[in-house]
């Protein structure tokens, strides 16, 4: 209000401390070529919001036919008439990143995933036909709600339970009687799962090479071409930076055959690739 009056009044300086004023926008250049822009604005509830954006700028030069270039100069019309060039927020937005990788046996993979997801997601379904059973009187209520809670002792599982339950408890071992704890290696199916896991790693490691000192500009395809000349490559994994999508400097190459891997290890170790000398060795187990 005072702004309308005498502008030179020193009292107006107070406005600088006004909580409604917004700090200026900050731009910080990062090491990896990205920019961090910190700006402030008010949201719908009139609260101050700090917005931090990391922006990576890439200049893409494109050669288009003259008609397309000419169309670029067209004025907006209809509902957009008179609007400045550039997308407006009310009609255009950018969605969440979607990872789309076509895969050969997509259907089988998706089914497996769904099965896993289904088991995890539907705890309710799993417990749907389980009944509440009282440990004291075996009635259909929680033990804490049992009317005989104070007068009766809990029924011993070992004596009242089915033989199957007994057997399982023996397997559980430890001889602690009522203890329900079962060590992981004794759990049903637990041992098998563990073995399988170890087995898988071993098999993988047999013919997997670790390649280090890989150029930042390396591409999976180039690596595949490079290593494929020694035998059938089953997998190429090139570690990439999540933000910039640049290679991180190491890669894993899996061969179908250990012999091919050995040969490749010998031949490519010390090979010059994109100004850097590759170092190739057999991948070690991560533990």
């Amino acid at each position: 209000m005072s702004r309308l009056g005498n502008r030179a009044d020193w009292a107006d300086d107070e406005e600088f401390d006004d909580p409604s004023a917004l700090p200026a926008q900050q731009v910080i250049a990062n090491k990896d070529g990205t920019k961090t822009v910190i700006s402030y604005r008010f949201n719908d509830d009139n609260k101050k919001v700090k917005v931090t954006r990391r922006i990576k700028t890439t200049v893409v030069r494109e050669h288009v036919n003259p008609q397309v270039a000419e169309r670029r100069k067209w004025e907006k019309f209809g509902l957009e008439k008179g609007h400045a060039p550039g997308p407006t927020f009310d009609t255009t937005s950018v969605g969440e990143n979607i990872v789309f990788r076509p895969t050969v046996n997509w259907k089988a993979n998706a089914k497996e995933e769904e099965k896993e997801g289904g088991e995890k997601g539907s705890m309710k379904d799993q417990l749907k036909d389980k009944k509440v059973k009282c440990r004291i009187c075996s009635g259909e209520h929680f033990t804490a709600r049992c009317p005989f809670k104070d007068t009766m002792a809990p029924v011993e599982e070992g004596t009242a339970g089915a033989p199957g339950v007994e057997a399982e408890e023996d397997k559980g071992g430890l001889g602690a009687g009522n203890s329900s704890y079962v060590p992981p290696h004794m759990r049903k199916g637990g041992a098998g799962g563990g073995e399988k896991m170890g087995g898988r790693f071993e098999k993988d490691d047999l013919a997997t090479l670790r390649v280090t000192n890989v150029s930042e500009l390396a591409e999976e395809n180039e690596l595949r071409d490079l290593f494929e000349r020694f035998g059938r490559v089953t997998r190429v994994f090139l570690a990439r930076d999540r933000e910039t999508q640049r290679a991180k400097g190491f890669a894993f190459i899996s061969y179908a055959d250990r012999g091919d891997a050995e040969l490749a290890c010998q031949k490519v170790d010390g090979f010059g690739y994109r100004h850097l000398i590759l170092r190739v060795e057999f991948a070690k187990r991560s533990t």
Binding site: R71, K76, L79, T92, S93, I98, F100, P102, V104, W106
Partner: protein
Amino acid sequence: MRPILLSGHERSLTQIKFNSDGDLLFSTSKDKIVCAWWSANGERLGTYSGHQGAVWTVDVSPNTTLLATGSADNTVRLWNIKTGECVKVWDFPTAVKRVAFSPDGSRLLAVTEKRMGFLGTIAVLDINYDGTYTEQAAEPSLVITCEDSKATVAQWSFLAKYILAGHEDGSVSQYDPKTGDIVENIQIHEFDSAITDLQMSPDRLSFITASKDKSAKLISARNLAILKTYTTDTPLNTASITPKKSFVILGGGQAAMDVTTTSARQGKFEARFWHSIVGEEVGRVKGHFGPLNTIDVHPAGTAYASGGEDGYVRVHHFDKSYFDFLYEVEREHLREQARK
């Protein structure tokens, strides 16, 4: 890939179309307006307003000067793409469900609905590109009447030799665009499951049909032989052939009236990518909250857009993994060719 969401429509999308260079994208919806977008960044170039009812269909002339739209207000309108002005209105007795320019742009076909005692027809209109485009023929140069089952979709074959039409009863027919005679009619899809989309391959030698019988079929334009069948688990609304990679993209979902009772997951509102030759599904792209009504692929094969019942258009520019994907067979074939 990060999809660009275009939210210029207030009701469900009916058709989207890239122009021949792929720099513009046109979308129509049931909310009476037609939008033009830059496909690279999703900026809206403008809107074409004038229709009095839901706009069912859109097509762009091959030289990107004229836009044709068909609507439930029983008209076909021709627009000057650059200025957004309507240059011509043709009145029909019933709603227009599909329009398509011939490969050279000299003719436009319009599929009209069967309603109020009128039979479904396919009308062919001659297009004049002189001056301000306003001097167009008043009457269609040819009207094909579909006596058995109304046509729902239609397209021009290679060199505009045939008009290919998909019918409500699941059959596909070839018409001669000079005389209007029916050349062939073949029951391609299950009887009485309407064909919902028909799109040509880039060379117009084959086309793909999508149907409510949950399958899409790749068909030869020459003799209507079925080349491939892609069977899915949901009614399909649209199907498209991708240039550059040999994929087809299928879109569909549970009918709109059943959607409220099903979750997005069960509704199957995904764009499905199939390898067109191997005939195997290779991936899906999620994102829409409702059935996919229409899909179109960038003519260079670098992007695709889908329009849904949820009122959104999603433009996806493919990233590297899409172009890198090859079957082992294809990879071997490439290596062999490189050796030669």
